[in-house]
């Protein structure tokens, strides 16, 4: 530590000279006071309380997915003549999760609202220009609409080569905002799909994509299983693949609570001793990119040491299921690999079925092809020695984690895992999470209070944007957007997305797909969606391949994209290989930025010296920048990580001429529709027929949109139990998704949100924080699905319906129905004897140790090296080093480095003082962490002659950043594959816009390659070099 620069209490050795220096002048003034010159009146009073009559407004923090409650105070008491202006924000003490607390980002929100970076007026940067020009909203909307129409008319694909109507517009892409409300999200969904946009993504793509993929393929739903407060019920907490204390400080309070109240143990496994480790019982270092070895080693250890909750595993997992004969794993490859295509044929990775289509099982687990035996064989290679050799983790640390996790294999002990992007941002991201999900099944920790696999989502509404399907190939409620080959017709779509139960008596909830889908189509196209036109199926865009962000940038880079609409996103900073991204942007004809603050993306054309060395005059992209509202200036709902939909309220008007996203989208849509009405155009029907029955078509309100997400009856809905009765009257809001119909008599934008705004009103704004037990507060806000707070809670009881642990009684079978303190995630009247299994979204009802054919890179997780491996080999199978199912574009392949040129592992991450690239525009946060730095260990620092605070240059094959060096004991050299390995920590928050010290975009370093299943970029393990430089 640099003691010289930081004075501290212990250093108070005031020298005689200093003392006199301070006090002599003082003494002078004392004497002057004596002589009557200085003030004489000795009053004593505290500062007056500044909020006495200020108006108080409730809101939800806009940064991460903990979803902390806010109290905002505005100038004036609400009188019409007082112009409201937020003067202070603090935590809402009534909020069940945050209980008044806010992290450094939340505590500094005032400076975000009033940031000098806030955009106030529509602006344009004309082609080749070096400056912004203020324009009117009218001009902005007109010009953008004309650009869009011209591009769409020229490039929309009406039908594919097979004659299938595909309404696909690929030459303009749109990014959507994970901090915007659900109401903005759902309106944007309607807008983009009517236009045929499939090149679209939200931040989920660069963030928790693999979570959805891993958890859905294991448990049936892709969301955090438990809730924030529930973490307090854990006996053991593992933080790995994440840094909960820094990224989710207020949610992490419940881990501390578990420590304090239950004596829980907390262990951190991470490349760095981070701020979570600072309060952990144990810390175990690990090489970035080797998590599957560590976790696979745990599976092996649990099996070898019989730390398995057998009753749970046998009853609720697919351990006993028999897998098809063709399945195999050899030398790093699963069966079915097509080397030329670089893809697997997954047909052998599936259950063996009997004549009736029911899965075959062997309850004795003796069958050589049952999942249990395949699992055992697969992980037998992951011995503690192999683990230590490949991860660099000391063996005693690894074994300690095994032991502590193993202790939770009994019904009375429960462990949980808190993870985030440390697991997702790898080419094996999905499989990292899968491995942990399997461990939790083996230990019987899923469905249990204090258990689960807790994905700590990033943005405040990234869960919501995922729920609303704002990803390239998705639709709301985890329905898929139709594919042109598999789903050419509605019947194909419904058949392939409506699975049959694989065991007798299973709930198989996706059997209801037609109800969800038809109701969605009625929301899209209203009266124009009829049974005769297959509910407007032909108007829905059909995809040919996934247009995720890496694919979008590749197309742009190749000059195949003309337009890019960026809503609340900073892709230049958050996409991989920023230098490539900047080149790609320069090839666009037009770009539209919708954002509350100035982003690097919006000024990609400005030369910033070394950190953005572009030739402004040559960049012909026309850039529009539209100012939007922030959270404090709008009503709406956002979904936290625990799936709670929380409603927030507007506290003040936005600055200048800023408008809400809903208004911006509304104006753009109406302008476009007018152009199509007036001038005609290609594939106009989906636009002209779109249901847009808002009171003000140019400004749909949050309330109107929230009601649409819930859904309403378009005709009287008869009660299936008694047809003479009516369940829901025509025009009424639906009580929940169970009333959805597949005959066009219900409209619902997002089936999983059904129940959020019923006839009884807005359920998301409920504020009853009564704890009904185990920290559960069902009266606070509303959680999807059906207000269930802990997913798969049927599994908290044994096969007979009795809670595994009486002290963790969530629900139980009372002889007639399932009931308790949570809404049963189960058919309420299905008796335990029916044999219905707890994972109701899976057609066999099991939690999957073997993920059947859901994932592209294997039914069991296997360790593959990052694309840039510091070893240059994979000691487990040297012929297959990195994942064989990776998608890698040629242009990106050429930009990969090797360990001989770039010997160190670079890993990027967030610091608790900042949120992504926003808070560098927030003064309070810039003060708390002002300048870009990288973290290196003492040994490497010594080798390179780098001292505390020196300037260093970190380079990869793709680019470099210059930053200060933090030399620390907290990053240790590891021994991996018999060699010393150094890791370099690279916090990601800097750029050239904002009030913090200017810096370099970290993603100049990272490679443009993603997780095999979801294309979430590999930010957590790539190769770099480092050198000391003179100051910048």
């Amino acid at each position: 530590m640099n003691k010289k620069a930081i004075p501290s209490a212990g250093d108070v050795r005031v020298s005689r000279r200093q003392f006199f220096k301070i006090s002599a002048a003082g003494l002078g003034t004392t004497s002057l006071a004596v002589m009557g010159i200085a003030p004489t009146e000795a009053r004593a009073e505290v500062r007056q309380y500044k909020l006495e009559r200020a108006k108080e407004i409730r809101n939800t923090c806009t940064y991460c997915s903990v979803g902390c409650g806010l109290l905002m105070y505005s100038l004036g008491d609400g009188a019409k003549n007082a112009k409201a202006e937020i003067i202070h924000i603090e935590g809402d003490p009534d909020h069940p999760v945050s209980r008044g607390a806010l992290c450094p980002k939340g505590a500094g929100l005032l400076d975000f609202i009033h940031s000098p970076g806030r955009l106030k007026y529509p602006e344009v940067r004309e082609p080749g220009s070096s400056e912004w020009k203020r324009i009117s909203w009218h001009e902005a909307v007109e010009r953008i609409a004309r650009h869009m129409k011209a591009d769409r008319d020229a490039n929309v694909v009406e039908k594919n080569a097979d004659g299938v109507p595909v309404n696909r517009w690929l030459s303009t892409a749109m990014l959507t905002a994970s901090a915007s409300s659900n109401e903005t999200g759902i309106l944007t969904q309607k807008f983009i799909r009517s236009l045929g946009i499939v090149a679209t993504d939200a931040q989920a793509r660069v963030c928790h994509g693999p979570t959805v993929s891993a958890l859905a393929s294991t448990f049936g739903r892709g969301a955090m299983t438990n809730s924030w407060v529930d973490i307090k019920n854990a006996d053991f907490i593992l933080v790995m693949g994440g840094n909960a204390a820094e990224a989710h400080p207020v949610g992490f309070r419940w881990a501390i609570e578990a420590k304090k109240q239950r004596g829980a143990k907390l262990v951190v496994v991470d490349p760095r001793f981070n701020r979570t480790a600072a309060v952990a019982d144990h810390y175990v270092p690990i090489r970035a990119g080797s998590d599957i070895v560590f976790l696979g080693g745990i599976i092996n250890w649990l099996i070898a040491n019989d730390k398995i909750q057998w009753d749970y595993v046998k009853a609720f997992t697919n351990a006993s299921a028999i897998i098809k004969e063709g399945y195999s794993f050899n030398e790093g490859l699963f069966s079915g690999y097509d080397e030329k295509a670089g893809k697997y044929d997954r047909s052998s990775w599936n259950y063996e079925l009997d004549d009736k289509g029911i899965i075959k099982t062997d309850p004795t687990l003796a069958h050589p092809r049952c999942v249990w035996n395949l699992l055992k064989a697969h992980y037998a290679r992951y011995t503690p020695e192999v683990v230590s050799d490949l991860t660099g983790s000391p063996q005693d640390g690894f074994l300690l984690v095994c032991k502590l996790l193993g202790e939770t294999a009994t019904p009375e002990k429960v462990g949980t895992i808190l993870y985030a992007l440390g697991w997702t941002q790898h080419t094996v991201g999905t499989q990292n999470i899968r491995t942990m999900a399997m461990i939790q099944l083996l230990l019987g920790n899923i469905g249990m209070p204090g258990g689960g696999v807790n994905a700590l989502r990033g943005h405040s509404n990234i869960q919501g944007l995922s729920d609303l399907g704002l990803l390239s190939t998705s639709l709301p409620g985890y329905l898929v957007l139709p594919n042109e080959k598999q789903h050419a017709k509605l019947a194909d779509y419904l058949t392939s997305n409506t699975p049959k139960a694989l065991r007798d008596g299973q709930m198989n909830y996706w059997a209801n797909t037609p109800k969800f889908f038809v109701s969605l189509m009625k929301w899209f196209w209203g009266d124009k969606a009829t049974k005769d036109n297959d509910w407007g199926y032909d108007w829905l865009p059909k995809w040919d391949k996934m247009y995720d962000v890496i694919q979008i940038i590749e197309l742009m880079y190749q000059g195949k994209m003309n337009g890019f609409i960026v809503q609340g996103f900073n892709p230049l900073a958050s996409f991989p290989d920023a230098n490539k991204v900047a080149e790609a942007f320069a090839k666009l004809k037009y770009m539209v930025i919708i954002d509350p603050i100035a982003t690097e993306t919006s000024t990609f054309w400005k030369n910033q010296g070394e950190s953005n060395d572009v030739d402004t005059a040559k960049i012909q992209t026309e850039v529009f920048r539209l100012p939007s509202t922030c959270f404090a200036e709008e009503d709406g709902s956002i979904v936290n990580s625990a799936r709670w939909l929380q409603w927030h309220f507007k506290g003040a008007e936005p600055p200048g001429e800023a408008k809400s996203d809903q208004e911006i989208i509304g104006e753009l849509f109406v302008a476009l529709r007018d152009l199509y009405r007036k001038d005609g155009g290609k594939v106009a029907d989906p636009i002209l027929n779109l249901s847009w029955a808002y009171r003000d078509p140019k400004a749909p309100t949050p309330e109107e949109l929230a009601r649409e997400s819930n859904g309403r009856a378009l005709a009287d809905i008869p009660d299936p139990a008694d047809k003479t009765k009516t369940l829901v009257k025509k025009g009424e809001q639906l009580p929940g998704f169970a009333t959805l119909q597949d005959d066009g008599t219900t409209a619902c934008a997002c089936w999983i949100f059904s129940g959020s705004w019923t006839q009884a009103g807005n359920q998301m704004s409920r504020r009853d924080n009564t704890d009904v037990g185990l920290g559960n507060t069902p009266g606070w806000a509303w959680a999807w699905p059906a207000n269930r707070r802990i997913l798969y809670n049927r599994a908290s009881c044994d096969a007979n319906g009795k809670p595994w642990d009486a002290s963790r009684r969530l629900i139980a079978w009372n002889g007639e129905r399932w009931a308790g303190i949570d809404v049963p995630d189960f058919k309420v009247d299905a008796a335990p004897e029916t044999g219905m299994n707890p994972f109701i979204m899976n057609p066999e009802g099991y939690g999957r140790l073997f993920s059947v054919d859901k994932l592209v890179d294997g039914p069991f997780p296997e360790h593959y090296e990052p694309m840039e491996s510091p070893l240059g080999t994979n000691p487990l199978h040297p012929k297959v080093v990195s994942s064989p199912a990776v998608r890698l574009f040629k242009s990106d392949k050429d930009r990969l480095g090797t360990h001989t040129e770039y010997p160190y592992v670079g890993t990027t991450y967030r610091l608790t003082e900042h949120f992504q690239f926003w808070t560098k525009s927030v003064r309070l946060n810039a003060i708390a962490q002002p300048e870009q730095f990288v973290e290196i260990g003492e040994v490497l620092a010594q080798e390179k002659g780098i001292r505390q605070g020196d300037w260093v240059k970190v380079s990869s094959k793709r680019g470099f950043v210059k930053a200060r060096a933090v030399v620390t004991k907290r990053v240790k050299a590891l021994t991996v594959n018999k060699k010393t390995l150094h890791q370099i920590g690279i916090p990601l928050h800097w750029g050239w816009e904002g009030v913090a010290k200017k810096g370099y975009l970290t993603n100049r370093l990272s490679p443009s390659v993603g997780d095999c299943n979801t294309q979430t970029p590999e930010y957590k393990a790539f190769l770099v070099n480092i050198e000391k430089i003179a100051g910048v």
């Binding site: 309070r253 002002p930 605070g949 010290k997």
Partner: protein, 295 residues
């Protein structure tokens, strides 16, 4: 203002006794260093509530920012990496005013009513009355008060006396994500600390303990430390803080003498004071001291 919601115990440089009839409860802030994640929410909330904004600084190779207390930063996190019992520890201590029961700042303050100690334990600065002499800086055993470059007045944590006066907890306490900062009666806080210490001892921290140093009469900001036997580990938290003997010297028996002796010099530098403000040492004194030091 004797009849405000916080009763005054004593005021600097004032001989008039304060009212004594009311007996409000003594409050305290407990900082459990062992559950502090160093997120700096308390720093930010403090600045936000108190309308302070320090300059945007630099990274000097550590996580500490702002790197020191100032008139614009009343609390800062101090990060220390250490290896104790063969185990790496990252000790993070929230630094700021300790609100001593026997406050060295108040005792050394020559300006009437610039420093007030309330009966609930809060030691508050009233900048209106501050003459910027810097005695409080010298008098503080924790090196906390800072003189503002802008107005040459002394500033430090008020324990959010404005919030406490209306029944709220200080801003830093409320915002603390992990509950590492708590607020309540001093008695309750000691009990909370005892529970924490028992838990820490169970986890192998044999020397866990409470920091409530007697040398300053106890404090109204207390720490739970894993290594209470070595407070210096926490970025040099003093082991036995006491008020500087120099303060006693100036403010004790020799005060009249000293005042007389230096009154002449003060008078001599009157024009200097008027021209340059009170926080400047006159050139003559400085030269004189330098000469002495050189000998």
């Amino acid at each position: 203002m004797p009849l405000q919601s916080l009763d005054i115990l004593r005021r600097s440089a004032t001989t008039t006794p304060s009212t004594q009839a009311r007996k409000p409860i003594e409050v305290a802030k407990l900082i459990d260093v062992t559950t502090c994640i160093g997120c700096k929410a308390c720093q930010v909330a403090c600045s936000e509530w108190n309308d302070l904004r320090e300059d945007v600084g630099s990274c000097i190779g550590v996580y500490d920012n702002p790197i020191d207390l100032s008139a614009q930063a009343w609390t800062v996190m101090r990060f220390t990496e250490t290896e104790e019992n063969g185990k790496l520890e990252w000790l993070i201590r929230k630094d700021g005013c300790m609100h001593c029961a026997d406050p060295g700042c108040l005792k050394s303050c020559p300006s009437p009513g610039a420093i007030i100690q309330y009966k609930n334990g809060i030691v508050d600065f009233n900048e209106e009355n501050c003459i910027g002499c810097g005695y409080c800086v010298t008098g503080c055993p924790f090196n906390v008060p800072r003189i503002s470059k802008e107005d040459s007045k002394a500033y430090k944590c008020s324990l959010c006396s404005d919030r406490v006066a209306v029944g709220q907890e200080p801003a830093c306490v409320k915002t603390c994500p992990t509950g590492a900062i708590q607020f309540g009666s001093k008695e309750d806080m000691k009990e909370v600390a005892a529970t924490r210490i028992a838990d820490l001892k169970k986890r192998g921290y044999d020397n866990a303990g409470l920091y409530d140093p007697e040398g300053v009469g106890g404090t109204h900001v207390m720490y739970v430390l894993h290594h209470a036997d070595k407070p210096q580990l926490y970025h040099n938290l003093p082991k036995n803080p006491t008020i500087s003997p120099l303060v006693s010297l100036w403010k004790g028996a020799t005060k009249p003498l000293a005042t007389l002796a230096l009154a002449g010099i003060a008078l001599g530098s009157l024009f200097h004071y008027v021209a340059k403000g009170p926080n400047e040492v006159s050139k003559e004194i400085e030269d004189e001291i330098e000469k002495e030091d050189a000998q």
